[in-house]
Symmetry: C2
Subunit: 539 residues, 2 copies
């Protein structure tokens, strides 16, 4: 027996139409590269979005075509976020931090037909455009000056169109957007969001126990719109009619903090690096900025250090919401909210919970599994790879890549090694490629690094797997000492003995001047393994 309810599809178009009907006076505030603020009402935003759709249609964009953006966070990028999917095309956000060779691979894979690019990013665009034969048109957003006369200008195109557009009826499973993972191993892989997944993710974001977005909020996505859909905030903020503040390309702590204070931002979201800078600024001048409007600073993208969460809370009365997600999860997967039953916990325990990755948001299932696929208990100590599933989790990648990331029984393998406690709180202990497997037991490199870095003489520590004839793998620690400090292997082992299990103790230490790093500043553990991974084999 079927229900007898309307088969209204879940479409990005409905989010846009709702914004027009109920929130015409809400605003989108954009700060330009030059630092000037502009304000656009939702009513005008809607008209411009319709005009963009008209312009794209006139250029020959049809249903299913990919339209790429290479843009900072600003209102025109938001117009693309809504106009492209609502007309039936597919929004493909290009990551301006990538190497031109990666960008050409990504744009070729997605078969982008049109690219909307900020004038300030034209030099980057021109480094890869010639390698992408599918591109028919490039539209220039005049973000920092006039569009060169030989190129299509965004504003000129819009000026020629109408304030409305006959949005087509669409299947909710239609593609709405594509975002590529950053591809730490192998080529980047494309995640293809549907209208349905986007709308469901939007609704979950707005639930009170997720981000609690409201029409009364002032939302500032610091996280770039080319990075996992800016965590869905462009959709969820507009869905509720919130004021949106777009910071443009100026992402230094001073500019962001000033903007938060003057625009009375209530919720801002960004990666830990951004927040570390802001915390340092606030610590240096605690009374300089009035941030009393802020109710939540959302931190994700990588794990936030507990000391930072605690610093905001205790020194500045600013509440941090620690979230976890991936491009493949739209991206909100879990969020560290404190349950009522744990609310009476002592401050240290509370901070401990706030520093976890939290528990899965609504509609998402979580589990962690051993190497052999066994589902593991939620005991807070057994480590396993985190797997998730739900209607806004990818079921595969563009073109069939990465099929090994999906289990037979319908889960996505995140690559994060975690523990899960009895209440469901997830704690990342490693990336799966970095975990150390010693005699069938898993050892967390992250936990060992944190313990080592609490030693007064240690500046940096990178723990990696050394191959071992008996135990398969044993931990090795690369250590950079603070200038003028010293520590012996025995002292470090003694320091660790009170902090970790005995079998976790590194078999050896390597003192070095610096630890090899990736271009984005992460430890390059693969090089450590290549250079030193066999040093235990003779023992």
């Amino acid at each position: 027996m079927l229900g007898q309810m309307m088969e209204t599809p879940l479409l990005v178009t409905s989010v846009l139409e709702r914004a027009r009907r109920f929130f015409p006076r809400s605003e989108i505030v954009t700060r330009s590269a030059a630092g000037e603020l502009s304000r656009l009402s939702y009513a005008d935003f809607y008209k411009r979005t319709a005009r963009l759709a008209g312009a794209l249609a006139r250029l020959g964009v049809v249903r299913g075509d990919r339209v790429a953006t290479l843009c900072w966070n600003h209102h025109r990028h938001l117009e693309a976020y809504f106009g492209i999917p609502s007309m039936g095309a597919v929004l493909h956000t290009l990551n301006l931090r990538l190497h031109p060779s990666e960008l050409s691979f990504i744009a070729r894979s997605a078969e982008d037909k049109v690219v909307i690019v900020d004038r300030s990013l034209l030099p980057l665009y021109q480094k890869f455009a010639a390698d992408v034969p599918s591109i028919r048109h490039v539209i220039v957003v005049p973000d920092d000056g006039a569009t060169p006369p030989d190129l299509l200008d965004y504003e000129t195109l819009l000026a020629a169109e109408r304030d409305d557009f006959a949005w087509p009826p669409l299947d909710e499973r239609s593609a709405a957007g594509i975002c590529f993972t950053s591809g730490t191993t192998g080529n980047p892989k494309g995640v293809v969001y549907s209208h349905r997944s986007t709308v469901l993710h939007t609704m979950v974001s707005c639930m009170t126990d997720t981000l609690a977005l409201s029409e009364g909020d002032v939302v500032m996505p610091v996280v770039p719109m080319f990075h996992a859909n800016a965590w869905g905030l462009p959709y969820s903020a507009v869905a509720v009619g919130a004021r949106v503040v777009m910071p443009g390309p100026r992402l230094d702590a001073e500019s962001l903090t000033t903007l938060m204070a003057t625009e009375k931002v209530t919720l801002a979201a960004g990666v830990p690096t951004i927040w570390l800078g802001i915390l340092a600024l606030l610590d240096a001048a605690p009374k300089r900025f009035d941030l009393s409007s802020i109710r939540s600073m959302v931190i994700g993208g990588s794990a936030a250090p507990p000391s930072m969460i605690e610093g905001f809370q205790s020194r500045h009365k600013l509440h941090v919401t620690h979230a976890w997600g991936m491009t493949e999860t739209s991206p909100l997967g879990s969020l560290a909210r404190i349950k009522r039953s744990l609310d009476a916990a002592d401050p240290a325990a509370q901070l401990g919970l706030r520093s976890t990755q939290g528990y899965a948001v609504t509609l998402i299932d979580q589990r962690h599994v051993a190497d052999d696929g066994r589902v593991l208990p939620w005991d807070g100590s057994t480590m396993g790879e985190l797997e998730v599933r739900g209607p806004f989790v990818a079921s595969g990648y563009l073109g069939g890549a990465g099929a090994d990331r999906f289990t037979q029984d319908g889960w996505f393998k995140t690559g994060d090694v975690v523990t899960i406690d009895a209440e469901g709180y997830i704690r990342i202990t490693d990336r799966s490629k970095d975990v150390i497997k010693s005699g069938g037991e898993w050892i967390s490199s992250v936990a060992l690094e944190n313990a080592l870095m609490s030693h007064p003489a240690v500046l940096e520590a990178a723990v990696f797997a050394g191959r071992h004839p008996k135990w398969d793998e044993r931990p090795l620690a690369a250590i950079v000492l603070k200038p003028g400090h010293s520590a012996t292997k025995a002292e470090l082992t003694a320091h660790l003995e009170s902090r970790v299990a005995k079998f976790w103790l590194p078999d050896d230490y390597l003192f070095m001047a610096q630890i090899p790093r990736t271009s984005t500043g992460k430890f390059l553990k693969s090089k450590l393994r290549d250079d030193h991974g066999d040093m235990l084999m003779g023992r």
Copy 2:
């Protein structure tokens, strides 16, 4: 181009499983008919729900079978709310306020196979059960004493089952529940909810700008679970892991207010009559109850008088959330929340907005149309029939009844006459044409007229709404007797008693020589209301 996201169906089962995984220590508090409180953890609630599904399967219930409930608000009814749809069967809530002849019509129409009935309601059940040939089993909930030995006992059945149940995979469009409208014109009509519509309605309810439900809430549905799914609160409260307080059959102001205070309820929901009683109680003894835990009192079912909303706010600092909906809209359709841009309005204007039906919730579209189908402007003065659409609005009724309530272009005609202002706020001006709303329940004037006119002495009868100090409205009947016949008020009441529910009986009768009519010969009920509508106000 299709998205590549998991095709996870939206199922009631997922809500239940999430409750078990993440909120095992949350509680369901039930007050029995005798006034005693019992507490059930979600962990135990889950097990009992699985046991109920096991028991129903053992009785032969298969996918698509209708399982009816005739119950007050208590934890066993909540078990039915989750166990029946999650096993693939269809929950059909029977309204215990209806006349046995209506109940038999409704249960026959739904082809109920099993009925779960409170022991206290067995006398009512026995008045119509024999007329429903589809019923195979009746399960008695021992709410006020032991189950009679010849009948199936709910607890005995559960005791024989396992704590888990292999919930079947389901299509999200599968029927999850049936609720009949009260049938103001003609026979009651069945609305068939799907799993998808139920989950979407649940998520929208939990959004911050709707009811903002949170795990930290203590939710008390005073609105009966047999009345439009208790506005979806059984699903939405469990979805977020809130504490649920079930008031049982004691719905007097004293009992409810005491329960709110002692259980520290944060959100309670009921019809205006309930709240009027509570307001009177608070006014009489302002310091007797500590209701400081309450953040929202949700009022719906019929329009709340502005004086009541204002009274709670100004005299008791209690915040009223005024909502509108219908059985056909799951039921939350709109909600009177104040937008930021209107927040500076003066108190009178604010109260005016709070007294409207608000604007449509997320995923719902609204419009109002003239008699000729023209879509009307949002100018705050033009009256038209409210129409809504969305994925949790009915697309038809069980068995194809009432097709004239649905437009060619996919909207549901609500029957409410409204204005809509420029911001989208809906105001019901002539609630619906002739329906009488008595204490949140609808009374059909047409049905009463038909019953009255079946009396041998009655020539014509026009039933209209008289305003009433306690019940909002009560039926009044204008009667024209046949020449040469006579009938007393008592005789007419006796005639009706066997034909309609007791609370439908008119409060008074007006004998007249002729009933005022429109030019086209219809009863001019507005004139009757103008001339006689206040005759009950002094009682």
